[in-house]
Amino acid sequence: MPDDLINSYKTGPDENGRFGDFGGRFVSETLMPLILRLEAEYEKAKTDQSFWDEMDDLWTHYVGRPSPLYHAERLSEHLGGAKIYMKRDELNHTGAHKINNVLGQIILARRMGKTRIIAETGAGQHGVATATVCAKFGLKCVVYMGAHDVERQKPNVFRMRLLGAEVVPVTSGRGTLKDAMNDALRDWVTNVRDTFYCIGTVAGPHPYPAMVRDFQAIIGKEVRWQLAEQEGEGRLPDTVVAAIGGGSNAMGLFFPFLDDPEVKIIGVEAGGKGVNEKMEHCASLTGGRPGVLHGNRTYLLQDDDGQILEGFSISAGLDYPGIGPEHAWLHDIGRAEYVSITDKEALGAFQLSCALEGIIPALEPSHALAHVMKIAPDLPKDHIIVMNMCGRGDKDIFAVAQHLGFDMA
């Protein structure tokens, strides 16, 4: 190992897919050969320049990368402290960071000769991104979505159908995102030959957490050179902040900065109605404990008997009882800090972003912004915060209107 990697935080996962004690491959035997094949194909693609050339071309001409790094001047002024930048991944095609990862997985699926793509979705953003890329490449697409979310997120359901995807409302369990993931896994076990499972976040069995992170890392890589361009050669952010559902947009922003100890890293979980014993939140790190679900060991919301609990959040995209295993590891070793933000605080940030910056954010990054609002005032003016504006709020205006008592009917 080269000297500069010995103390690196970027070497994970190990050959067993572990980040420390987290991660792994906790899947049924039927799926095991499939994820081993996927890992082998991904290892090949990773070092294949033609793979990344294809990604770059689509990122540029289809997604619209690089996304801008934007100095939020009025917001910074209003908070009266740190200098705040927003990484504008909400400007991507389909309106969120999700497509960064979907492109990578679909290109891989095509290389593997798979003709049918399945995905799980909560708010519908990952489902829409997957349906979009499948339409572009003429692939069959089936999206599993909790029946409850199908009701809550009708516009995204219609989008997916327009894009040619079959949306399967999931009624198993409690009909939420985790159940959608269960049903996607059940589909994969049944259709092992032609089907590729496109997971939407840095969770699942190895190699998904690492692979999805690598595809999303384009976010942090761009921030590095964009900030140097705007603030001077070698200038790094002092703090990076991102919201966490499963943790993919956050890993994408964090990963390129893990080995820069001067960069403070903060992940923001959904605190729902508040992180307390009533469990009306989705803060797996703050309010959960280690367990095994969906192929990996990580922090989970669970009861004393190891039964998985439902998360609760105003944001359907953060509504997952687990978190990617790499975050669990970064949390335990102390390289990143994890905090939680309540629904109410997120709604406040949502409105502030609209009013001061003319940017309607998704409810997910509103959580990240709400934490920025908490810390920025006490920081010096030359302290640079980069927050990940990972999605736009079009999908959320109905939920927000309801909370603000505005009649949309």
Partner: protein
């Protein structure tokens, strides 16, 4: 020699195939479930698979998913499942009990604590769906060390290259999953299963039983004829789901057992 080893030795001596029955512990409620489990040996069941309910059973079809939900809603816990085994053992010291489920409730309890509690309760083996050989150090090896059999699933996707690894730390018997899919789905075909069982037997001296997709006495007989035994789960659970009285559930089980035993 565990109760499982003894059972297969006995069956072999009698020239009989094993009939393995799966029920979800605590479905539809603790008392009824215990009554059913207690009645299984007399109905001809050679080995009992006792399902441990879990909120996220990703390898199970709707029938067993719902059974788990019913059990959890009725208040089933890991302690109660262990208690069922303990009470069963008071009157039956030979019928093997295999606990089947998912890893998290075990991990949550603590592997060492769980193993000593399971052993004490009279459990003989474990089938944990989400622990492939790659994760053997988690539970498989500690379980063997504690004197419990760890029964592995082999599947149609387990190719020749992988099979030795799957067989390596397996004990008690090998459970061949006859279909690619979830429990309770497609029908298993003896013509497909026969060669697969032979392939596995070429790599191990352990008995090979076949499960997933066996629903009728006739299927139990035809699968039994090409393997060392047949497992039926969803079909029995469906009887419980339909609210059949315990006696009727056990009659249904007895017919399946007769099918397997006539192989």
């Amino acid at each position: 020699m565990t109760r499982i080893d003894a059972k297969f030795a006995d069956l072999k001596a009698k020239g009989k195939k094993a009939f393995v029955a799966y029920v979800m512990a605590g479905d539809p409620d603790y008392d009824t479930s215990l009554e059913i489990v207690k009645g299984l040996p007399a109905a001809g069941v050679d080995i009992i698979e006792l399902g441990m309910p879990f909120t996220d059973p990703m390898a199970d079809g709707p029938t067993i998913q719902l059974a788990g939900q019913r059990a959890l809603e009725a208040g089933q816990t890991l302690d109660k499942t262990l208690a069922m085994a303990r009470i069963f053992r008071e009157t039956d010291d030979t019928t093997p009990i295999v606990m089947m489920g998912y890893y998290n409730p075990i991990y949550s309890r603590g592997v060492d604590t769980f193993l000593s509690q399971a052993k004490e309760a009279g459990i003989d083996g474990l089938i944990v769906v989400d622990l492939p050989p790659e994760e053997d150090s988690e539970l498989c090896l500690p379980a063997q060390a504690a004197g419990l059999n760890f029964i592995r699933l082999a599947t149609p996707t387990t190719d020749d290259e992988r099979l030795p690894r799957v067989l390596q730390n397996t004990s008690g018997f090998v459970y061949y999953v006859s279909i690619t899919g979830i429990t309770g789905s497609a029908e298993a075909q003896a013509t497909d299963v026969g060669p697969e069982v032979a392939r596995i037997k070429a790599g191990t001296d352990l008995p090979v039983v076949v499960g997933f997709g066996i629903k009728t006495p006739e299927q139990a007989r035809s699968i039994g004829s090409v393997a060392d035994g047949a497992v039926v789960g969803s079909a029995i659970v469906s009887q419980i789901a339909a609210g059949k009285p315990v006696a009727e559930v056990l009659d249904f089980v007895a017919a399946l057992a007769q099918g397997a035993h006539s192989a």
